[in-house]
Symmetry: C2
Subunit: 148 residues, 2 copies
DNA sequence: GGCTAATAGTTGTATTTGTAACCAACAATG
DNA sequence: CATTGTTGGTTACAAATACAACTATTAGCC
């Protein structure tokens, strides 16, 4: 029933998704890398804090779907860059709330604007309907984002 | 004109693409990893040889959009697994043609069948139109595949 | 032919990542 | 209120990756 001979690598979703993600991500990653020496996870942590406000590492990990060790290292790097501060939670002293510094906020604002433009140029290849349909499909495939 | 405040991370294409790609790729990668101890690039090399027949490393790198050092190491690993053979080209002795062994062919056939099923389960969440539209968008975003 | 440049592929090394083990601090149960 | 289990987060070490430098072979050109 499943005939391996008719498998088409070019239509295989993980393959196509990966190419598209790599292609789309590369251009932008060069930006935060060149401008701020950030790695992808650092950008993500910054973006989450910029978008959703202060929160702890675990929360970011869940929202961004990133393992806690990666978050931990990204946070250390962002602290070194003076982009985030950690303040221990009084009630539960295992936990620490992460917060953007002014410099971190500025970097986020800068990158968010660039990201928007970047997104627009990516989407220039697509019609509005295609765009909408694509986001829809990607959300279905990516699993539901934990919304809060 | 580009107001950073209205940047929506959840709609940012590189972010969505990456999530979807990771989510989609993970399940399948566990399969070739568990069954054959292969890494992603090894699976890709195997898949290209299985799909398109014998070719040299450079060609695979171009088609799969993978750097030559990664290809080189994947090929070494596949040779160690007795899945591919290298035969030096007579005309140009820098070049070597890679070819699946019987075991390599068998592994490819096995994985191709699984990949097909896997793809189907991924696509179960999408309608036929969505599927078609998605492939279309991903091809546009991923850049044109070098077809030969 | 003899020189320089280009190409196929490999290797070295510094970063990055993944996995597991770990240390606190807190929670729950007896 | 001890003891066992969880949870937030870090660290250690192995594996994988990126990037540059390298070898070997071919190509172009005077």
């Amino acid at each position: 029933m499943t005939d391996p001979a008719q498998f088409r690598l070019q239509d295989f979703l993980p393959y196509l998704l990966n190419h598209a993600a790599e292609e789309a991500g590369q251009g932008f990653s060069r930006i935060y890398k060149d401008r701020y020496g950030m790695l992808r996870t650092e950008w993500r942590v910054l973006a989450h804090l910029g978008q959703f406000g202060p929160m702890d590492a675990t929360r970011i990990g869940i929202m961004a779907r990133v393992h806690k060790t990666k978050i931990s290292r990204a946070v250390t790097a962002l602290q070194d860059k003076r982009f985030v501060t950690r303040t221990l939670d009084g009630d539960d002293r295992r936990r620490a709330t992460l917060c953007l510094t002014q410099a971190g906020q500025a970097a986020y604002t800068d990158l968010a604007a660039i990201a928007q433009d970047y997104d627009r140029t990516l989407l220039a290849r697509l019609s509005a309907e295609e765009h909408a349909g694509l986001l829809d499909c990607l959300r279905k495939l990516g699993g539901d984002l934990p919304k809060d």
